[in-house]
Symmetry: C2
């Protein structure tokens, strides 16, 4: 029976009716104009109504929500959601009441990984490691066909593993996190420093002199055009990602490694660094039989995964 | 109902009758004089006979074996067991036939972790990370109460994560593995170089001039006595272990971290480095509620865990 999937981001909420194979039947997107929990619940209810009306006669069972933030494992309480400015919001309970159906809330990356596992690049595998590099860096582990959520429900924080003790400050407040060197926000900030300092004419050209036009791909193009400053940032990011992911492959021995997220999807050079890093640095035995694949579902992975988890 | 547990090492085989609570009722140890698979199966059968005769009237159900090596997940075939010089030995099948009962073969660290989970320092937890530092370095992940074995059955190889790309050669043949800097064999080799070079009078004194008397604890004592060369090796090992384990805590978010193995059991200074490393470097959210504990079952963890897995 189809289920409802909800993808709650920092700027909008999407709702979809998804069948048991992970096929999206209908979907609706509504912008978040206000971010109070009550207002967000209303926006989600609107999106749900839209998606359900567009699928007349379809009976829908449960509902799953993927939300960016730390979510308490059993209660569905959102402990912290930085994008929404939330702390301790009992979203599962509020939505269950508003929608009149059981709602399960999980972390957005866990939802996306579950979507890829069941309807995307992970189909048929039971031991999968999914890495997303977008503005931030996250990962999700599937072992024995189950999501690994951790004792506190926050497993997967690859972006906050330390790569340089005492190094660059990360958005989380800690020092030397992987994300501080390879996350999209940070790549852009590093490129901007370079551009503004006047040390990269290549970057300035590619961005037409406008720091606001810089993207991780601009940086990658400048690096590949031989710009020394861009190359240093890009190479360091690629090597750090390659080593961190290689080490996770060594410890987790996944059958499949799935790479996704906006930065990795847009920057083939960074993906290459990861593939080469895993080949060079993961233990030989751990990467026997390993398949490295790109995420297949794009922005829909979280929506689909949430729906499948809500079944 | 009690089960049989077997711990197959490189020099002897132990068999035990273990009750369902992980209590060892009887155990027998037999030396391996010959290492052919057929000879080892006979030695195991002798040890089993001894343990069973010592428990008259006790009915025993299944049998689990923990063996050092890479074990094929479903078939119980030992792909590689370096200590025994084995390749592709169908131990589970051979033992099932010889003992006339179902036999399950798992990696020795997985067995030890399972023992600690169910009858030792992990009791009551469902998400546990167990790190053993002895001659080598290994780990075992328990998530949602299940062993994480990986797609190829070789998950947990923390010792072969890379800490220095292109660095010191490891026993596995690869370069820059954690084990090459912190494993017991390597700590002793590094201390020996220092002693033989004449650069450490403190080490020479502690070992009474005999390189054969060096242990990881000798090195730790020399480091704590202020010997610069010993301190460098010891501190580097402690910091590398601390950071590697902190990063695993960040990604796995275990409720409990269990430290075991001969080197960690004997060297409180190295344990301290790990605890401090986790406190300083694991992400704040991942170590909320984390309990760090020492392994409780010592040499019996593998025997007990194998028996419980054989149930």
């Amino acid at each position: 029976m189809p289920t409802l999937g909800i993808d709650l981001g920092g700027t909008n909420a999407r709702a979809a009716v998804v069948d048991e194979h992970g096929q999206i039947l209908t979907s609706t997107k509504v912008s978040l104009t206000e971010r109070s929990p009550a207002a967000v619940v209303e926006v989600i209810a609107q999106a749900v109504a839209g998606a359900m009306v567009a699928a007349p006669g379809v009976e829908v069972r449960g509902c799953g929500v993927g939300a960016a933030g730390q979510i308490h494992r059993d209660s569905g309480i959102i402990a912290v959601a930085p994008n929404l400015g939330w702390r301790n919001v009992p979203l599962a309970g509020m939505l269950t009441e508003r929608l009149g159906r059981p709602v399960r809330v999980v972390n957005d990356l866990a939802a996306a990984a579950w979507g890829e596992l069941n309807a995307g690049a992970g189909r048929g595998a039971h031991d999968v490691y999914v890495v997303f590099v977008g503005s931030g860096v996250g990962s999700s582990i599937i072992a024995n066909g189950q999501l690994v959520r951790g004792g506190g429900g926050v497993a997967g924080e690859l972006g906050h593993t330390k790569v340089v003790p005492g190094g660059r400050r990360c958005g989380c407040g800690e020092l030397g996190c992987l994300e501080a060197y390879v996350g999209g926000h940070n790549l852009i900030a590093l490129a901007r420093e370079l551009l503004v300092s006047g040390r990269s004419t290549v970057l300035a050209e590619l961005a037409e002199g406008d720091p606001a036009r810089l993207t991780p791909l601009t940086l990658e193009r400048a690096a590949e055009a031989g710009d020394p400053g861009s190359r240093e940032i890009h190479e360091r990011a690629g090597q750090m990602l390659g080593m961190a992911i290689a080490n996770m492959v060594t410890v987790l021995n996944p059958a499949r490694l799935i790479l996704g997220g906006g930065v990795l999807m847009n920057c083939p050079g960074l993906r290459r660094f990861i593939v080469e890093g895993v080949q060079a640095l993961a233990s030989t035995t751990s990467r026997e039989g390993l398949l490295i694949a790109e995420a297949e579902l794009g922005d829909d992975s979280g929506l689909i995964g949430a729906a499948l988890l809500g079944a």
